[in-house]
Symmetry: C2
DNA sequence: GCTGGACCATACGCATGAGTATGTAGGCCT
DNA sequence: AGGCCTACATACTCATGCGTATGGTCCAGC
């Protein structure tokens, strides 16, 4: 019998390594990103890795940029396409709340803010998202400074929620309780 | 000239090591907690360390428990001593906002949630704080479930703010802007 | 004034993980 | 059919950081 680990023995590309790196980051954190571990997981050895990348740092960089690029564009454009500005905020909240998978990388990177490489990426992504939120709040009727502060508050709540639940697993909240929380959040953060 | 790092050459105790560890964690993160580095910083060598602690893990554990114990008791008791329940929330918010130093360890531990040792400590501390917040919201007039959700939201905003500012240094916010943000937060999160 | 224990120095062993050097199998082009 | 380039294997070097072994120094107390 053939006991080889993975039957998929096709050749790998740099993108394959970057995707694998992002998956590993998503469920084990940036600290677990080791080239030999990744190689084992892909069914090859380090020899392959160092053909595609000059260093481990380069892989991290490439993976982060890849993640940053194909980001949250579809969500943003879909929300902006909604005709009624007041309806956008609740829709955005519910959407983000129920698609937790895409936020796993972001949550993992939140725990890796001591690595100098991830800081600028997270800064850019967070900045863009907050500007997006600020615009929505303005279109919902808030004056400029209020909209900015409300966006800060909302995004902070989002980030904190990721930490407390994903990472810390804190409230061990049930599904119904979670929905109630989201609706509460909509009521208190959305302008009446 | 004497160029030795620290002139204090008294003997050290386990508590000295724990305090030094917490300081190092506060400004360089848990990942930077290495015994030789700590020893250099204290003007001694590893030989000293391994007399006081069996392992590096033991030091981390002791430091975390020390931090957990001498926690935020004074703030909590002072807030609870206030006669008017409605006045407690704004006071708590302003207080926390302007005493950022004590939150540096918490912020550092937030980035270290991949270390199995810090998770339970952070879970306990966060849980206690959220229960405290929930009580305040109830005393301010919110029904039980509303109070719980509002506490979750508030604490998430706190955690997220620490990440976005301390760690990420994101908005590069000015002092006046920050005060305005705090007041905005009070207006939108405090029951009218 | 001697001794035992607290506190620390020095010099190792050892595991892990990054990076390098070099050899090699298979597809593609001519 | 021969050559070559891509993708990978194998076998190392090297740095870092934990932990250990052992010996030294200072001070308390009989």
């Amino acid at each position: 019998m053939n006991v080889s680990a993975k039957p998929e023995r096709t050749r790998l590309s740099a993108e394959d390594w970057e995707d694998a790196a992002l998956r590993l980051i998503a469920d084990q954190g940036v600290g677990a990103l080791a080239v030999e571990a990744l190689a084992r997981q892909l069914g090859v050895t380090k020899g392959s890795f160092y053909w595609h990348f000059r260093t481990r740092e380069a892989l991290l960089q490439a993976a982060l940029e890849r993640w940053e690029q194909y980001g949250e564009k579809e969500v943003i454009s879909q929300i902006e396409a909604m005709p009624d500005p007041r309806a956008r905020l609740p829709e955005l909240f519910r959407r983000v709340a129920h698609e937790l998978a895409p936020h796993r990388v972001y949550a993992a990177l939140l725990k890796a803010l001591d690595h100098p490489q991830v800081v600028p990426v997270m800064a850019r992504v967070s900045q863009r998202r907050m500007e997006f939120l600020t615009n929505i709040y303005r279109e919902a009727g808030l004056p400029a400074d209020e909209a900015l502060n409300r966006a800060r508050l909302t995004y902070a709540a989002y980030v904190g929620f990721l930490q407390l639940n994903f990472t810390l697993g804190l409230p061990r909240i049930s599904h119904e309780e979670f929905d109630a929380y989201v609706e509460h959040m909509i009521r208190t953060l959305t302008p009446a």
